[in-house]
Amino acid sequence: MLRRFRERLHLGVDAAAVVRRAGLPRAGGLWQTRVVLPRPRSALSHGVDPVTGRAAAGSCTEEGASRRVGFTNPVVGILLLAGLFDGLSGNPMGGLLLVTVGVGLARSRAEAVSNPDAGGFTPRLRRPVPWTRTWTAGCVIGGYGALAGTPARFSWPATAAVSVAGVAVLVLAGRSAARYRAVPPARPAGSAAWAAVFVGIALWELVNLLLQPSFTTGSYDHPTLSVLADPMLASTAGRSAALTAWLGAGWYLVDR
């Protein structure tokens, strides 16, 4: 390290004199001097700090590290995994949606990690919702659900109706992201119980999916939730009721 220091000073320079002038700490004699030098810049260390082993600021190694952080988020992993199995099950649009959202979320987290000073999600407390707004939303949801349940299942009018409603809820949820209702402190044990229920449903669904003859063929003996819901969703009343419930759940999430 002392040789490299001399090289940077164009050789011949008395290292000890330089050290004294620079005020750097030293120990031992002239040629046994151990100098505490400033950390080498990223140009010399090829993007990695030789002392700490961490990525130097602005280096390619740091960008790769932040990208990896984005993909280590469990929500991203769940979205990518669900998208993969949904695509394999003969639903490429749904799978593409989940994968796109997962990748977008990972990139968003990577940008947040690499630029922590940028503006992020800063929710604030919101005022209570007036009952007139809730009743109006209920009537709109009920009417829309009844109307959207009229076309046949998996038809283009039904797809358009679900897509329009989905986009509307996402827009409302995005606008309400700056406001949230105050909730009690976290209770890990109770939250773990809820997580176990949801994970159990997801795992049992996956087990039945894997026990089907193929990913695109349902099984009577090992029914998934889709197969179980087919008889109810075959009728207009069943579709309308289910769509109304789905829209109600979306409105509930907007309000969270």
Partner: protein, 66 residues
């Protein structure tokens, strides 16, 4: 009990577990949060909010849309 009945029984058990947790959360001083509180906390972060809304949208597209 055949395979279909067993599969339905497991789904029913998990649904009943969720209902039981929601009922228990209503009791005073319960350590179990309600589903709304769990979702509310999950949606505090950007990841949680995006994940929950994406899951909701996927449900609609999966069951009703092409």
């Amino acid at each position: 009990m055949n395979s279909r009945q067993a599969a339905v029984a497991v789904y029913a058990f998990l649904a009943a577990a969720g209902v039981a947790l929601q009922v228990l959360s209503r009791r005073a001083g319960s350590p179990i949060p309600s589903l709304g509180a769990v979702l509310g906390r999950a949606m505090r972060t950007r990841s949680g909010r995006v994940g929950v809304l994406a899951g909701w949208l996927w449900l609609g597209l999966h069951f009703f849309a092409r």
